[in-house]
Symmetry: C2
Subunit: 343 residues, 2 copies
């Protein structure tokens, strides 16, 4: 952190589908909720950002000019290397140089991942940085990690996802020693692919609160606080889950079209469902940190609203204060003799 | 088939959680709908089966006595080898000997899988038998294959699942040349694990109506008729999906508890949802065939109702008439020069 009392959060003001409008509006909202010593640094085209913020906040902010923008269509790794004056690259370098304590972007997810690994580097003892996503469950939440970052994984990677996920869950959800499980096709120890069987052994021997295997049906029950899987499975489960509300709406519309009475019932059903599934809105979640990189890099949904951006900035402050990386490095150091990080 | 005009379906009368009651009741229902030349063979404890069926049907049936039962707790492969006089093993042998044209069981799924492979053997050119499950989508259905049978897969296996799934979809859904896609983390050709990348190549070069990659969110949209994945992913997606209605009910109950008005709305919401999701009931689906074994082996849900059992028997008749295996053998023979079956 730049100092013990202040915290500076940089925001990619040009990332996101509705940038810089939503980005700046979100920063203004965040400044109302941050501590007075805390500051937002807006990174991007100063000529476009300034008119949106001047006179609209009493909080502390500054603008860091950047001439380029990485778009959603850019190839992630190439864009980070080539667009050196993009808001994303400039913001990440500010963080790497210690001038800010966190960097937040709702821009190109792949570019954020690449930039955070390339520019910030990995935490000692981490083989592969990862991303975990909180899934609202019947009661409470469940952290699915890896949520899509690493598709081909070895057992050591899955083990490290468990360690990083456990620390992240503990700090953000304020729950000591959260339960960790491996996502598998059955609860028995003998189930799963070769990689998963080996990961089971590593997790069993760790200091984590490992409760064994859980199945696909256990995610929405939050049978474990942290559910570990490779990014191939994580991506598919999350995207499948995201498609469920649309599927339900479509099915309910079919029912409504059968009769007037159905139409009334379905109208109420849809509004009840909206209430019941309110926390599935990605704007509530406030983005996700890249776990295992040397810093605090928070990635948000491209379609983030101003409230979504605000929640990302507040999440960044929370993650920065929690000093996750110190804990991750220490936890993995304990096991590093037995299992070296692998690529 | 035992002859061109008759069809004999054997039923494991002792499989399932409510056997032999539901099994026999289902057979009686099926006999009303089968053609008059078609016959059901009930396999199991004759002393328990007889009183449930005598005088209750004018259809053609017979009872094949078997003294043992494979339970849900039995270890699949061991049970098939050790309980040689179980209804499941006896029924499968009747089929292998050509005395019946299909065998149906709502018993131990693993044992059905083992028995069908061990006793019937594989269709020529098939590396690994598989199971596909129809998923009701926004419009139409989507066949997810493999649905959980083979957790560790190579590219050749995924390719064969595509071939078998395509033939199964075509025959059962009566749709010529159904679309086939690979379940992946993105639509781009460059996405996925090494195995998936290789499978993409094999599927591209095949005669299938291969449309490329689809994502988790595309399943419930039935963006492809047949969606190919390994059994690890298939199992997790299916079980996750099965947990969604319970999750919704629980969330809706929370909303209902907030006010009287909500309670009314939620009551209507739940009944609308029941109507909207009616076809998710496994009893409607009527079980799934093991694709790629030398015969027709249909596996059903342990909790099958009499209607569920009836639908399994009718599905078995349909699959037997369609002569899937002849088509599978021929389709894989075309590609067998380039890619030998692998274990």
């Amino acid at each position: 952190m730049s100092s013990s009392s202040t915290l500076r959060i940089a925001l990619d003001a040009m990332g996101g589908d509705f940038a810089p409008q939503n980005e700046v509006a979100g920063a203004i909202l965040a400044l109302r909720e941050l501590r007075t010593s805390e500051e937002v640094v807006l990174v991007g085209d100063a000529h476009r950002i300034e008119p949106l913020i001047v006179g609209k906040t009493s909080g502390t902010y500054s603008i860091e000019h950047a001439t380029q923008v990485i778009t959603m269509e850019d190839s992630p790794t190439a864009a980070v290397r080539q667009k050196r004056d993009s808001s994303l690259a400039v913001g990440m370098r500010l963080h790497q140089e210690g001038k800010v304590d966190a960097f937040v972007s709702a821009g190109n997810t792949g570019a954020m991942l690449s930039a955070s690994t390339l520019i910030l580097g990995r935490v000692a003892n981490v083989s592969r940085p990862t991303i975990g996503t909180f899934i609202p469950a019947e009661h409470g939440v469940c952290l699915l990690v890896d949520a899509g970052t690493n598709v081909d994984c070895r057992a050591q990677h899955l083990y490290e996802f468990g360690v990083m996920g456990s620390i992240y869950f503990e700090k953000i959800q304020k729950k000591k020693n959260p339960t960790v499980a491996l996502l598998n096709v059955g609860e028995e120890k003998s189930k799963g692919t070769e990689v998963v069987l080996e990961a089971f052994e590593k997790l069993s021997q760790s200091k984590l609160n490992f409760i064994g295997n859980v199945e696909g049906r256990d995610i929405l029950k939050a049978k474990a606080d942290v559910v570990v899987c490779d990014g191939f499975v994580g991506n598919i489960v999350l995207k499948f889950g995201e498609s469920v509300p649309g599927f339900l709406r479509s099915r309910l519309t079919d029912v409504a079209n059968r009769s007037i009475l159905n139409k009334l019932a379905v109208g109420l059903a849809k509004s009840s469902l909206r209430k019941a599934l309110g926390d599935l809105d990605p704007n509530v979640a406030g983005g996700v940190p890249v776990l295992g990189v040397n810093g605090v890099a928070i990635i948000g949904h491209g379609s983030s609203t101003a409230v979504g951006i605000k929640n990302m900035i507040l999440r960044a402050a929370e993650v920065a204060r929690a000093q996750l990386n110190k804990h991750i490095e220490a936890a993995l150091a304990e096991s590093v003799g037995a299992s070296q990080p692998v690529n």
